[in-house]
């Protein structure tokens, strides 16, 4: 891992000399981030971080793996497939809004749209598609959007996280906003995402082991028993963001707000190169 990073930096240094390879501050962040987790969890192969807390806690892994054999999201994927292929009132389908095959949709998001000058997530793109076809937008945290998301995540399994932060001023601004959210203390309890999922990853907060932020985004949407008490158990990444903000008594942002899209952009970029494995099941 380190070898690759070194080689890469050397290449980039050469490239700067020769071509003016716009050296991107996000790249250094990513290398530091990876380094930290690989030192903290030397027994976890990098790509295994996609399994969240189970990548570092053998105790709960077996139980989880048996859950994944008959996953509660299976029926959700089927619902999503049906939705995705059901024509809108105008006869078109979701597929008409995407320029890539169905198995490559998930891995195309989030990205920075240079024309719109904002980060576009999969959920936003799905609703843009509905609007373009005169359909009502979907809610962003639960329900149909998670069904479509689960189907597309399943189709996209095995593809690689590949977010680009090009060095355009605006894309870096979005990246930095997300990074800022990740490291800033907030809420009455005054804790940052990093306090729990970076500095204290692997430690227990009460009985819960804190997962590493590396690999956090690869398996959404997610099924949780906790979310099944007043719904079908599914939730988007932004639903989780809101939950984690609330835990520290901070007012959550709206799902798909600029703030959370920026966070998703940073958060997903940090997992570049890891394998997409959604949808997932978590405690």
């Amino acid at each position: 891992m380190k070898k690759i990073a070194v080689t890469f930096t050397t290449l980039c240094t050469l490239a700067v000399l020769m071509l003016g390879c716009a050296s991107n501050p996000a790249e250094k962040d990513l290398n530091d981030f990876r380094d930290y987790y690989s030192k903290r969890f030397p027994d976890t192969p990098t790509n295994d971080f996609i399994n969240g807390v189970y990548s570092i806690d053998k105790g709960s892994r077996d139980q989880w793996e048996s859950l994944e054999e008959f996953p509660p999201y299976e029926i959700i994927i089927e619902k999503g497939e049906k939705l995705f292929n059901t024509p809108f009132k105008n006869g078109k389908t979701y597929a008409s809004c995407f320029s890539v095959p169905v198995d490559s949709i998930k891995s195309s998001y989030p990205y920075f749209d240079k024309k719109r000058k904002e980060v576009i997530t999969l959920e936003l793109a799905l609703n843009d598609c509905r609007k373009a076809n005169d359909e009502e937008p979907l809610k962003y945290k639960t329900g149909a959007i998670t069904h479509l998301g689960a189907y597309l995540a399943f189709q996209g399994r095995g593809k690689t996280v590949n977010v680009t932060i090009d060095s355009s001023k605006e894309s870096l601004e979005w990246y930095n906003r997300g990074k800022q959210h990740f490291y800033a203390k907030r809420g009455q309890l005054n804790m940052s995402c990093a306090d729990c999922h970076y500095y204290n990853a692997g430690n227990r907060i009460r009985a819960d082991i804190l997962s590493p932020a590396l690999g956090h985004t690869t398996h959404f949407p997610v099924y949780r028993n906790k979310w099944a008490t007043d719904g079908d158990g599914m939730g988007t990444l932004h639903r989780r963001y809101g939950g984690c903000n609330k835990q520290v008594r901070a007012k959550p942002f709206e799902a798909q707000s600029e703030e959370y899209r920026a966070l998703e952009y940073f958060h997903t970029y940090m997992s570049n190169g890891l394998t997409l494995n959604g949808p997932g099941v978590r405690k």
Partner: protein, 122 residues
């Protein structure tokens, strides 16, 4: 504890001298009740929730983000130093994950005092 005991017996002695034993009773139960109250506040998830991060005798399923709270009287002979750590831990470590119970009004001044009384017995 010893300190409390001495105070109590002094109070009792004075009370006996004064011929009014009843005076000593509120002193004893007040000291005990603020330790008990403090424990309740410390363990309450909606209040101190100290067990989220610290092992504390008598509490189940503690987290391990912070150090176990043991030998507190030896480690914090001065109660005011303990109080400062509990009320505003950022003073010692600006980047600590421990919540600023005082400045952010997570606990009231009175509640912090009771938590300090309890933690100091550990």
């Amino acid at each position: 504890m010893r300190h409390t005991a001495i105070t109590v017996s002094t109070a009792t002695a004075i009370a006996v001298v004064l011929g009014s034993l009843s005076l000593s009773i509120p002193t004893v139960s007040q000291a005990e009740s603020s330790v008990d109250e403090g424990k309740k506040i410390a363990f309450d998830r909606k209040k101190g929730n100290c067990l989220a991060c610290h092992q504390i005798e008598g509490g189940s399923l503690p987290g391990n983000i912070g150090p176990p709270l043991i030998a507190m009287k030896a480690r914090f002979p001065d109660k005011q130093v303990l109080k400062a750590q509990i009320s505003n831990p950022q003073k010692n470590n600006p980047n600590t994950i421990m919540p600023p119970f005082g400045p952010h009004e997570i606990l009231s001044a009175g509640e912090i005092d009771m938590v300090v009384e309890f933690i100091h017995t550990l």
